[in-house]
């Protein structure tokens, strides 16, 4: 290894953070979501919500798998639904066509066949790059779709494959068993993907994304790694497909239709492709907004979604999680400068958040009842006026580093939540509160900021702020 006369200093920070701590996030997600059906059934809410969350988990797994290609390797696949379909049909066909085929084997086969199919298709796709790669993946996914659609003898064609036999425990009338099965499988799947993106392999993929040419000149066989990434994404997509099949106990060609490929693309972009959690956030947010709006205000969902996307693409090019993540301020700065930068960043994000709230609520209210646009306009302007007067003062108070004000800002989004409940879109409201809490936590609960708020440095910070 390199011989340097001075012994290199290896900072001790390496072991404490990162994957090790993140394990607890996965455990927490598992524990919290495990009890959702209990709550839903106890409260007497419709079982729809258990099914809804089941689907949200499956979409999240699918989106994270897709993002291994898009966000980490820089390969934009327009045909990821193909592997969803291949996985779904694998499990469906095995369980349906072969009598007494073991359930576990039929399930495990889906990711394996998905990865295998991705190996074959990927072999051709990775030869091209950029838009040509995307078009080729789309072409292959359409081949998969039409094969399933037309091959009546084998796949049932457009009638689908109905009545896939599943074990008794899956067919529980309250859907709780299957919900928990999906939860465990998805958390495990996402955890494995998390380990992969943090491994040397994952780092190598990001290097390929950043600069494939340079990656080749450090000895990385770029095409081979791209193929492996394609196979891993295909495998986990196949797993998600199998979960959908078992969930519906039937498979239709729609599973591989291109609209699913674009939906997973939307979810990833919405949540932020350069973060691991982005696609999950995007999946939940999209499904929440869809459920909220489609249920109560039919007919405006597509228009609203279009507007959200335009605003996200222009306003937050890094997606929601990219926006929320606290940017690491250059370590060369002293603590006072770091604090000043942190506060400035927080103020900027706060105003972004506030303006986005106003724009979205105004737009939504106008869509909902176009006739009362004058009232909506006045209402929005009134909010802007109040906020414009109140918030600068609140933000100045925060800059005094008083502990109480930090909590005020954490609790602040209860206001939008109330509005959301009034508008009968509580899920989206809940999501926004959660995201805001994460944002605040990322900005104001960082160790150095925490120390400043506890007053340890505030004496010499005061004049700077």
């Amino acid at each position: 290894m390199p011989t340097s006369s001075a012994a290199p200093s290896v900072p001790g920070r390496a072991r404490t953070d990162g994957p090790d701590k993140a394990v607890w996030a996965f455990v927490a997600a598992l524990v919290v979501f495990f009890w959702v059906p209990e709550v839903v059934l106890t409260m007497g809410w419709p079982e729809f919500w258990i099914i809804f969350f089941t689907e949200a988990f499956i979409w999240s797994l699918f989106a994270v798998a897709f993002n291994l290609l898009m966000g980490y390797t820089g390969l934009i696949s327009f045909g990821q639904a193909a592997y969803l379909g291949i996985g779904g049909y694998t499990t469906g066909l095995l369980l349906k066509k072969i009598t007494d085929f073991p359930f576990a084997l039929g399930f495990i086969a889906a990711p394996l066949v998905g990865a295998l199919a991705a190996a074959v298709i990927g072999y051709f796709c990775i030869r091209l790059s950029h838009i040509y790669f995307a078009m080729l993946t789309l072409a292959f996914s359409q081949i998969v779709y039409f094969t399933a659609f037309k091959w009546y003898d084998f796949t049932g064609g457009d009638n689908g494959l109905i009545g896939v036999p599943v074990p008794d425990w899956v067919q529980d009338p309250s859907f709780t068993n299957y919900y928990r099965f999906v939860l465990v499988v998805c958390v495990l799947g996402v955890f494995i993907l998390w380990r992969i993106v943090n491994s040397p392999f994952g780092k190598t993929l990001t290097a390929i994304r950043e600069n494939p040419e340079r990656a080749g000149f450090v000895g990385i066989n770029v095409k081979r790694y791209e193929l492996y990434a394609f196979m891993i994404a295909g495998g986990f997509s196949g797993l998600a497909g199998a979960l959908i099949t078992l969930h519906e106990r039937s498979v239709y060609p729609d599973l591989a239709f291109w609209t699913r490929s674009t939906q997973v693309l939307l979810m990833s972009i919405l949540g932020g492709v350069y973060t691991f959690s982005g696609p999950i956030v995007g999946a939940f947010l999209l499904l929440f907004m869809d459920a909220d709006i489609t249920q109560n205000y039919p007919g405006i969902w597509q228009l609203f979604l279009g507007a959200v996307l335009v605003l996200i693409l222009f306003g937050l090019p890094g997606g929601i999680m990219g926006f929320i993540q606290s940017r690491d301020v250059a370590s060369a700065d002293d603590s006072a400068t770091r604090m000043r930068k942190t506060m400035a960043e927080f103020r900027r994000k706060f105003w972004y958040f506030f303006v986005a709230m106003l724009v979205f609520s105004g737009f939504f209210l106008t869509l909902k009842s176009p006739a009362t646009w004058v009232t909506t306009l006045l209402f929005t302007l009134g909010q802007a006026l109040i906020g414009g007067l109140l918030f600068p003062w609140m933000l100045r108070q925060l800059s005094t580093l008083a502990e109480g004000w930090r909590l005020v800002f954490l609790l602040f989004p209860i206001a939008p939540l109330a509005v959301h409940i009034l508008l009968r879109t509580p899920l989206s409201g809940l999501m926004i509160v959660l995201l805001w809490a994460v944002c605040i936590h990322a900005q104001l609960w960082r160790p150095d900021v925490r120390a400043a708020f506890r007053g340890r440095h505030s004496a010499h910070l005061q004049p700077l702020l």
Binding site: T206, E210, N211, G219
Partner: protein, 246 residues
Amino acid sequence: MLLRVEKVTKSFGGFAALVDVSLTVEEGQMACIIGPNGAGKSTLFNVITGHLEPTHGRVLFHDREITGMQPHEICQLGVGRSFQRTNIFPRLSVFDNVQVAVLSHQKKSLNLHTPAKRLAQRETYALLEQVGLADQAQSVGGTLAYGFQKQLELGIALASEPRLLLLDEPTAGMSPQETASTIALIGKIARERGLTLLFTEHDMDVVFSIAERITVLHQGRVLAQGAPDEVRGNLEVQRVYLGEGA
């Protein structure tokens, strides 16, 4: 003989970028290629590192033919390279930029389960220290100042522990002070590691101060080759090249 380029010709359509270029670099040598813009210096580098395949001729590294090999294979044999325009991984941290290259060299890139934070820490920091970037390890590569990015690129190139390092205009776009310190750094690292260097450079002071052997390219052909004094004394070289600059 570490590197031997034999009668390499490279044509793009009808245009011959290199014509019958031959040169040799001995182990431990600091060899330099000079020539006006468009003389074929970068094309020659691309042929040596496998980015381009020569139309005729062959390239041998340690008496082994490497013509037609893929860039990553040639890199794995021990040929490192830095680029004229900075060529780093812009949105990765300085640390990750170098670590990816170290992991690749250690053949650990296919490890899918161990967190990368537990691997190659010491080696990466040693390299960062050597190129003078240890205190900026956590900054994002693309946000560094130009001179630092060049140093980072050198770090990436060194990570694969090359025996032969090709540097394409390592001081392009630098101020005189930056040029001097960069050349000093490169010289120091090359001596410490016993590296063989093949570089292109437009600054004649730099060339004549450190190069042990100079090849002059002009319109894709070798115009002169030899020790600095011989090249300096060559009348044709003075006519087409040195005369304009001096």
